[in-house]
């Protein structure tokens, strides 16, 4: 059993006790523990259940690559699933629960899957749940969903806050081990702007654990001295708890800082996502140890050799009292030595190589540890822990030679450089035959905007796995990189590290090498996804030759650890089965992030009140205070209606329409787009933008105009006012303002750059109120001022500028409702005051604020089209009976050529008509007019559709507009419209102008 040793633990402070709970049980840990080390210290070796077979699992590693010890952390609004116990810093009050078990971690009903494992091979789900098809939705999917998924979804809204942070540097260094520190030193001394990121709270990486000495002093001392020198440099910024998650094009890097995971009570952002632009990336990400594939290698108590060493040296925790070390390399001997030096037993080291004669094996032997070369493990005894291992000849089929009693197994299959950051943006890899790993191919780096490489791997990440190689490799590579960004390395000697020499490993992909099918079905490659040697071999036999296909078929290397442990082992097995060399089989693509990052960090600040910008008019506060019900229009929130106490929205809309038509309504029209077009060529430009002839518009007058895309389709509409000979004011739709302004600038900058025209979007400079109804003129006249508002002085489609009371106003005599209507624009700072002044002055006329729905109904009663209702990007003005607004005199305007194409001039198009149901009901929105026969897909043919449909309180019946095949030629005809049910509705084709067809009301 694992336990806390009485001494040791370089990262812990035993004087500071912490209390935490695991699966509801209270435990004690100490400051500096990870959740994994604290659980081991409490003899809690089972930390989770595997995904597919629900096998009991213990912690396998001590870091980011952990596949097994995944926890649900926190509670309620602070709950987060799938957190690695190995990278979770312990704090007082931490609560954790293990995952994938029911009803309990120790006794799990899903474990029956393990007994059935021979019936659950690779591709089981694909093969089994295909037929019969109807079963999928009602039987298979619910069952699979029940058992699928890792961890629980949080049920409450996340209580934490998150943020982004943009940084611009010369060099990002990923990894704070000795390579990262040395690289930072080189770059910092050369004057580069450096950001050094380390994913853990500690710097130095493995070197202090492995007893390396640097520059004649213990690694620990060198790390402290180096950190202190770096901290003194203004151009170097050091960031612990920050993982470089991804490298992207043009030197864009994201890093994930866990600001407050370890201090959850702090009022701080939990995570911060660094969005970095850098010239160069240094990957000092080290290497990860690989497991060995022997039968039973997934049992709790079997651990990576390096992890076991970490637990002893860093946290003073042992994995067991008697540990068998199994290896194919010298490095694992360090673990045996560390265990022995901690006063515990190592009954033997099982070394698959024929001989082991290096410095480390000699040192182990000197400590009295028996080294069994040429041997392997044929099986692990024990159900929920290890009680013994069965040894065999590595060269054979697994006949048991002897049993060794032990309670832990440390395994090492060699090391793989962490080349993720090299690969994210396209760096290529070479297979290193001697080391049996992929290393960066320096000739094919990821390239940046200038075509040159921008990622440099140093130290173990570059394949320099031995301590003595790390620093020279790092210094040389970093100095080369500095030259690339025009910095000169400081003239300092290259620091040397001392560590015992190591003999080469033997590539061992299966233990024993001749294992039969039964044994291969117990050798785990991917612990998280329960993928075994037998599964990959089956996939190969079934024809999955591509590693990418094999990955998806077997799930090898998927889920939260993304194959950090399983990748190379799985690849080697696949290559063996295909009888191909490993580099020929290739490797799967490494994609960001390196380890999972929180959704909160990705969203950053964009949640709650600042989830997205909500645009507000100068009158928005009044609308809020007066109970507006909102309608989103682009990023604006416009009042849909202003319901009074006890009123439904429908009732409010009807009241607003009636009040406006009978007396006086007020609409906040500030959101309407307003673009100034000015210059000697403004008229010529306006004639190109609009389908109408705008250059003939007289100053002081307004004209309704249409804008089309080059494709001929109607894009926007609005009233244009000519301010003076040189200047036009274009009103656009609320949602179209920014895109129309961009459209104008596009043509002016990129096509007609010699035309003398300037534009400016002045939408927000003006607050605008539509003053509508028979009493509109009276209320404006009550305000006073110097503008003559009489019919003769300011006729329909004219505008005037001056004082309206105390306001600096432009008054446009335009109408979207069919009533007598003035749109009054004042500078935004005067908007709220104008609104209130109009309400005050209008009180005697029952001045009624109305919203967008009343606006829509009133315009529909008048047969006015609305962009986005009557248009959908496939409608041309001719479809809408707007031929009168298309100039025949102009040689050219945007959209003219498009509208000349045969399909556009085809007389058999769907065209705008009014629709009136025979029973007076409101046609459902989006209904289609049904036609005879069926189309090629067996769907009923259609001959038209409803584009706008409302209840008209003015006419007390449903009114609608729609596009109908040859519609205007079919007045009086009755069509049948579908509904979402079986019912159909009959409606008659009528004129789209339902109200005041002569336009008398707006002309008074």
């Amino acid at each position: 059993m694992s336990t806390r040793l009485s001494t040791g633990g370089r990262l812990i402070d035993r004087s500071r006790q912490l209390t935490f709970t695991f699966n509801g049980k209270s435990f004690k840990g100490v400051e500096g523990d990870t959740l994994a080390s604290a659980l081991l210290a409490n003899s809690q070796t089972i930390m989770g259940r595997s995904f597919k077979y629900h096998r009991p699992r213990g912690v396998m590693t001590s870091g980011a690559e952990e596949p097994n010890a995944l926890m649900g952390l926190g509670k309620g609004a602070k709950f987060e699933p799938n957190q690695r116990a190995t990278t979770t810093e312990l704090f007082d009050g931490l609560t954790a629960e293990s995952q994938n078990h029911w009803p309990s971690l120790d006794w799990d009903i899903g474990e029956v899957n393990a007994a059935l494992s021979r019936f659950l091979p690779a591709g089981f789900y694909y093969k089994t749940f295909i037929h019969p098809r109807p079963f999928w939705k009602h039987v298979f999917e619910p069952v699979i969903r029940q058992s699928a998924g890792l961890g629980k979804v949080p049920k409450e809204r996340d209580a934490d806050r998150y943020e982004h942070f943009y940084a611009h540097v010369d060099v990002v260094i990923a990894g704070g081990g000795i390579a990262g520190l040395q690289s930072a030193l080189e770059a910092g001394r050369a004057g580069a702007r450096v950001l050094l990121c380390e994913q853990t709270p500690h710097f130095g990486g493995r070197a202090p654990v492995d007893g390396v000495s640097i520059d004649g002093k213990p690694a620990e001392d060198w790390v402290a001295a180096t950190l202190s020198e770096l901290e003194g440099m203004d151009n170097v910024h050091i960031r612990p708890r920050t993982m470089v998650a991804g490298v992207y094009d043009h030197g864009y890097v994201i890093a994930y800082e866990r600001v407050a995971d370890h201090t959850p009570e702090a009022d701080a952002p939990r995570h911060r996502l660094w969005r970095i632009r850098t010239k160069q990336v240094i990957s000092a990400t080290g290497a990860l140890e690989r497991p060995l594939s022997f039968p039973g290698n997934d049992k709790p108590g079997v651990m990576l050799a390096s992890a076991m060493r970490d637990y002893i040296v860093n946290w003073g925790v042992s994995a067991g009292d008697r540990t068998v070390v199994v290896t194919n390399n010298d490095d694992a001997y360090r673990t045996a030595i560390a265990i022995k030096q901690a006063g515990l037993d190592v009954p033997c080291i099982v070394d698959a190589r024929p001989e082991a004669n290096g410095a480390l094996p000699d040192q182990a032997r000197a400590l009295g540890i028996e080294v069994k070369t040429g041997m392997g493990i044929a099986g692990v005894k024990g159900l929920r822990g290890v009680v013994a291992v069965k040894l065999c000849r590595q060269a054979g089929e697994g006949a048991v030679v002897e049993e060794v009693v032990c309670d832990a197994v440390a395994m090492s299959g060699g090391w793989s450089p962490v080349v993720h950051l090299w690969s994210h943006c396209g760096g290529k890899l070479n297979w290193d035959e001697a080391g049996a790993f992929f290393r960066p191919d320096h000739a094919r780096p990821p390239t940046s905007h200038d075509g040159a490489g921008f990622v440099t791997c140093v130290g173990s990440s570059d394949g320099a796995l031995y301590a003595a190689e790390v620093l020279p490799n790092t210094s040389a590579a970093t100095r080369g990189m500095l030259g690339q960004i025009g910095k000169t390395a400081a003239d300092a000697p290259v620091v040397q590290a001392d560590a015992p020499d190591e003999a080469p490993l033997a590539p061992i992909w299966m233990m024993p090498q001749g294992a039969g099918p039964k044994k291969r079905a117990k050798m785990w490659l991917d612990f998280q996804n329960d993928v075994k040697v037998s599964d990959v071999q089956l996939a190969a036999r079934e024809g999955y030759e591509s590693v990418e296909h094999t990955k998806r078929y077997t799930t090898l290397g998927m889920a939260t650890d993304q194959g950090k442990l399983s990748n190379i082992n799985g690849l080697a097995i696949l290559a063996g089965e295909l009888n191909a060399a490993i580099p020929q089989v290739g490797t799967t693509t490494f994609r960001p992030p390196y380890t999972p990052i929180s959704m909160g960090a990705i969203a950053g600040e964009a949640r709650g009140d600042v989830f997205q910008p909500l645009r507000r008019t100068p009158m928005q506060d009044w609308h809020e205070a007066n109970g507006a019900h909102w309608e989103p229009v682009g990023q604006w929130r416009r009042p849909y209606c202003f319901p009074r106490d006890g009123e439904s929205h429908r009732q409010a809309v009807n009241r607003e329409i009636t009040a406006t038509r009978n007396s006086l309504g007020l609409l906040d029209a500030s959101t309407l787009g307003k673009i100034i077009v000015k210059g000697p060529d403004a008229g010529r430009f306006m004639d190109m933008l609009y389908t109408n002839m705008m250059s003939t518009l007289k100053p002081g007058k307004c004209r309704y105009g249409l804008m089309c895309s080059e494709n001929g389709f109607l894009m926007d509409d609005g009233v244009v006012a000519r301010l003076d000979e040189d200047t036009f004011l274009c009103h656009t739709t609320t949602g179209g303002t920014e895109s129309i302004h961009a459209h104008m600038e596009d043509w002016l900058q990129c096509e007609w750059w010699d035309w003398k025209v300037y534009t400016a979007n002045v939408t927000e400079q003006w607050a605008q109120v539509a003053v509508v109804g028979p009493n509109a003129r009276k209320v404006l006249q009550k305000l006073g001022g110097d503008i003559d508002l009489s019919k003769d002085a300011l006729p329909f489609m004219a505008w005037a500028e001056g004082k309206l009371g105390a306001f600096d106003a432009r008054v446009f005599r335009i109408s979207f409702s069919g009533e007598l209507s003035f749109e009054v624009a004042v500078p935004a700072s005067q908007g709220r005051a104008l609104w209130e002044a109009l309400l005050d002055a209008g009180a005697e006329f029952d001045a009624t604020p109305y919203g967008t729905e009343a606006l829509h109904v009133m315009r529909a009663e008048k047969g006015f089209i609305m962009i986005g209702d009557e248009t959908d990007g496939t409608v041309i003005p001719q479809d809408l009976g707007l031929d009168w607004a298309i100039s025949k005199k102009k040689d050219d305007f945007l959209g003219k050529r498009g509208q000349q194409r045969s399909h556009m001039t085809d007389p058999a198009r769907w065209k705008l008509v009014g629709l009136e149901t025979l029973d007076g009901s409101v046609l459902p929105d989006g209904s289609y007019a049904m036609a005879e026969g069926e189309n090629a897909n067996g769907q009923g043919n259609t001959q038209g559709r409803v584009t706008s449909t409302y209840y008209s309180p003015t006419l007390d019946k449903g009114i609608a507009m729609g596009l109908v095949l040859n519609g205007p030629d079919r007045m009086g005809e009755v069509l049948e419209f579908n509904t979402t049910g079986d019912r159909t509705v009959k409606a008659r084709i009528v004129s789209p102008v339902f109200y005041d067809p002569e336009g008398e009301k707006q002309n008074v």
Binding site: Y248, R277, G451, D746, Q749, C750, W753, K896, G898
Partner: protein, 106 residues
């Protein structure tokens, strides 16, 4: 994520400060043009793997449209230049030739 220098204001703009505008140097065909010419102008794009001329607007910045010569496969940028031109300027062509000797202008 691209980083492109705006030739108007000199800012090295993050892709999130820009809006893309598709292929550059299109010749407009209006009324009087053939259906084929109009179709080509409006719809037909070569989508090359390699050197490409494209339009970008510095939307969260000076608001100007500019043009970029870029390799669509490697994302190498050969240069950016102002939009008031019907064809790539000489220094851009030279920069491309220096990096892609086999490239020929379509």
């Amino acid at each position: 994520m691209l980083l492109l220098e705006c030739p108007y204001c000199g800012v090295k703009a993050d892709e999130t400060e820009l809006t893309p505008g598709g292929e550059a140097h299109l010749k407009r065909f209006g009324p009087g043009s053939t259906d084929e010419a109009f179709e080509e102008y409006l719809f037909l794009r070569p989508n090359p793997k390699g050197v490409h001329f494209e339009r970008w607007r510095h939307a969260h910045g000076c608001g100007k449209w500019f043009l970029a010569a870029r390799d669509t496969a490697t994302l190498e940028v050969f240069g950016t230049y102002t939009a008031q031109t019907t064809e790539p300027p000489e220094h851009i062509i030279d920069a491309i030739r220096a990096k892609r000797p086999d490239w020929s202008q379509a």
